[in-house]
Symmetry: C2
Subunit: 260 residues, 2 copies
């Protein structure tokens, strides 16, 4: 079973369950049936959900923490990406001149399936609808531009900086997954999800104490070693076996001012 959101051949935008090259529309993730099945023929995949919240984690892999000398956190360290930054497979992503140096961060994404508040770890696990691929694009220049205030949201919030997709897949065992990032076909990240500091059920349990999680909310669980800068014309792919690949093309800023 796979969850996708599509622009169908007739222009309708639908989210639902895909099987046998047909999509059975649903009233959002966690919602009921919403009309007859449509063909996937001629359909375009969109970002697989429209999150109300797009949460990202920092410092959630043992290997990255060890390499960078970071202490393991006692609670997931999180920030929010603005929902307007979400794009799906095949998108063009502008590198704003003001963003300076931008890096890719290939990540596993959790998609929430049911409303979730002060959950136990078992309830948290049950609230996970499925998993998707995330590229949490980040301006490292902006993140550290002001010594008094780390600008997580600004650095990670430009339109197109939240790549998710191509679909959401329920029922996977996250321990078996490997997150790979490729730039122009060359592998630049490959690390096991099993190296996470907080597991997906632990993340959802903790976050459900910080806020109420809702169906369709996306949690990017953090990246590990190997992030690198991107440049205009790069094709950047995040790929997880069992989910698929999501690729975007980086573009130069059409409004760039020479010499600025």
């Amino acid at each position: 079973m796979t969850w996708a959101r599509i622009k169908a051949a007739d222009g309708q935008i639908l989210g639902g369950i895909v099987a046998d090259q047909r999509l059975s529309p649903m009233a959002g993730i966690g919602g009921g049936p919403a009309g007859p099945a449509v063909s996937m023929q001629g359909a375009t995949l969109l970002a697989p959900c429209v999150p109300g919240k797009f949460i990202g984690l920092w410092n959630n892999y043992h290997a990255a923490a060890a390499r960078n000398g970071w202490a393991a956190p006692t609670h997931p360290l999180h920030f929010l990406k603005p929902v307007t930054c979400v794009v799906g497979d095949g998108a063009d992503v502008v590198l704003p001149q003001a963003a300076g140096r931008v890096v890719f961060e290939g990540e596993l994404g959790i998609v929430i399936g049911t409303r979730c508040h002060t959950a136990t770890e078992a309830e948290a696990e049950a609230a996970i609808f499925g998993y998707t691929c995330v590229n949490d694009l980040t301006s490292v220049d902006i993140l550290n531009a002001d010594p008094a205030f780390a600008q997580w949201t600004r650095a990670k919030g430009f339109d197109g900086f939240g790549v998710i997709g191509p679909v959401v897949v329920p029922g996977l065992d996250w321990r078996d997954l490997t997150i790979r990032t490729l730039v122009n076909g060359r592998e630049r990240q490959s690390y096991p999800a099993s190296d996470m500091i907080f597991s997906p059920p632990q993340i959802v349990r903790h976050l459900s104490r910080d806020m109420t999680l809702m169906p369709g909310d996306v949690i990017a669980v953090g990246t590990s070693l190997g992030t690198r800068p991107v440049k205009p014309a790069d094709q950047v792919t995040v790929s997880i076996e069992g989910i698929g690949s999501v690729t975007v093309t980086m573009l130069a800023d059409p409004n760039a001012v020479s010499g600025a």
Copy 2:
């Protein structure tokens, strides 16, 4: 003219323009007419909008910067509050045990009226639908709990920590406004909006380069001197002449563990 969102006497939830004790429903802020006018009699005011993004600013008042020794920023320093934290006038707000010390922050809130990206300052000013009162409740213990990562979103994101209301008022001159916060009727903050470092049009201009702003998005422009801790049973009011007052009651955590 005033924008409100109500639960009408018959249970319908409607947003729209209020005049002569009647509300003319609209299809969201910036949307067109959406049905016949209804009486405000017996209606309950809700949070005046359902923002897709709830942005907050840090360090945007000269007086607070001077007192705390903060340098004036060169770009608005912002974070996001999760949209699930929004409540309106009359709400009860739980103080989670994990949040520790929580302070009120009375603020002016900008409500966006039209989609806005890479705006000029004049376009930014035109994209402002109106102003509301905000109480940007903040756990100061969580904000500074991890020395490697300031937890802005977690500290400010608990359910109920984003108080907005009672209504949105277009056409005000922000330079004339005074933001007051009262706890149990006693004035604890009173400062002029004219002391802002970045003005509302400047804030919207800058933010529209960081992300696409959408109708109904809320921007809390930062607080000034006088924030203080709140405790269970406190009634906390943010009041701005020309907009009105928004009051919430703080509650103890019903799930608090003794000795924890």
